[in-house]
Symmetry: D3
Subunit: 137 residues, 6 copies
């Protein structure tokens, strides 16, 4: 059963990152580099964060990643880069990702948004994603 | 033109709150109670937050409110109640709202989530919304 | 196995709260009041927060609760009251709890500390705990 | 010398609160209600916060209180009420206090500002202060 | 009218940064590097943050920048460097800027203050500003 | 008497860092690099943070550093590295330090914990500390 949760988490990560069988966790940081000091961390990341929470019903993957990106903008965490990658991977358009960050100006203020756009721009460049901003209505 | 932005903001608020012509800003707090000390506040809320930002293209209304709710969970702000109401008004299901809050456990921790669920439960009760949680997959 | 984690979590809670068999989760808030809107929340609290994390080796219970209280002071969360109760239950002295809060002045500033002391004083009064502050060395 | 710092702190508080000899700490919360659990707290508040920091050269009292109010808006702390009182006491006009809070919209977002204006309005009412907002230039 | 707000914002920035006609936005980051992904960002920065908020009456420019620097210390945002430059440009003395940062010790704790002083020291060195700390009274 | 507090603070720092007489403040950052812009900062760090607060009774040194590390994880401050060094110096085992950071997952979320483990791993490597994680019970 615990193995089930780990397996379920790995499959969720594979789904989120469009990973293949050779590198099944894709670009997702599951904390394996801490195996020497906190060998149970990866288990919690995979089983709990992905096997339990990301696998919950209620939101689709796009909504889940949008929610994740928003939380990381509000907290100013560097993990936002990885989750912008995940957003692209699950099918959020660059416009939706930028739209989410821009929407936060009245809630988190401009500095948080500028820092998040820097991360977005970097990821878009790395991924070779070209952005065609929607015309303002 | 400034009048246009104010008008555009009011229409956005009306759309978000399903308000009618008699009470065009619905349940949205646009800060009118501060007219005596900060008479320009309501202008900024309506023109900037709603006329500029909420009216941006890129995200649909459901995504915009999901993003707003997430930011308010991460920051622990009491405005979350009003925006959960907005969520219901634009068509987010109670399951989507709860799903958004629950999804944040690995990012904001349990206490923020418990406090947000308290707000959600209160709003659902006030609005007479019955919740049928999706079965876990 | 999942049942094992749930059972392990419940036993940890019982240990932390000195609960008896009639009310095995004692005064710990495990989110049961959200069963109607988020029926899986209690499972995550019991299995993950208590069955996985609180059950980890490395720190003893006193250290775990000290760490929890500190995080809640830094974040300004109302859950601090419940965890001050837990602190007393696992054997932290009132002086240690106050010592922890006072130690944070140079890191979180005075307002956070004043708010946390208000919570501590309330819990000490409810529990009938008398405090004999250690003389300053 | 330590007595000097305490005395210096008390005089600073008297100056900030326009207190008289009968109630020399005026409306300032120096934490005396925690004498039973943290008897050294008041000493740190008076000696360090007021005797050392508030007594520093570099800023005048108006600037010091403006800085304090801003920090409390950014952090969402309830102590903002007391420091708005202090602001009025050292000669900040209600317009300056509101101006400070409103100026923060692009940095902290609207919800923090709305919550701070609620505190300002309450204090202005309690103090019978009438506000004549400056015309927008 | 919208053009008016943009123009008003640009003039405010010119005033704040002592910019000349060749580089009218001076050293202020108005987000132009995001024109490819968020082409409306610069408009919001110039029109709203500077044309609306910085142009409000109530505080003078020195007070506005003092308030901005304080918010950025409390939030730990890297934009503090740019706003320390703005502070010098509008006539805040290095002592006032340091005084503001030091005043925050009792509210944000030492680590936030040390990080802000690192930014201040860097800007002072870049600008060739020599600091003569006021003697303690 | 003030000299006493400074001396008391220096001795506390020496005790915390296992410093010798040649470099009595060891690896502790007491802000001496800001002597040119904020000459009184080091006095406040030594006298107040160490002479007053770290010298308080109530907690032993291990508990004090555990509390400090926790606050810095919750706030995401870079000073965590220095205080992990202090933790090792006062006798916290690497397992206790990792245990404290891992314990925070349910309170601060995974990203804060991953960032803190990165700091811990760096310090452990610099100090040549080998970690033998306790087996999970």
């Amino acid at each position: 059963m615990a193995e089930d949760r780990y397996q379920k988490g790995l499959e969720k990560i594979k789904e989120l990152t469009s990973a293949d069988d050779e590198n099944p966790t894709g670009f997702m940081d599951i904390g394996e580099r801490f195996a020497d000091i906190a060998p149970d961390l990866t288990k919690y990341v995979v089983e709990f964060a992905f096997g339990d929470i990301y696998a919950r019903p209620g939101l689709d993957n796009k909504q889940k990643v949008l929610t994740t990106i928003t939380a990381l903008v509000a907290q100013g965490k560097p993990q936002i880069e990885m989750h912008i990658k995940t957003g692209l991977s699950v099918g959020l358009t660059p416009n939706e990702i930028v739209g989410c960050i821009m929407h936060l100006i009245p809630y988190t203020g401009f500095p948080s948004v500028l820092n998040a756009l820097t991360a977005a721009k970097k990821v878009f460049a790395e991924q070779g994603v070209s952005v065609t901003p929607t015309e303002e209505s």
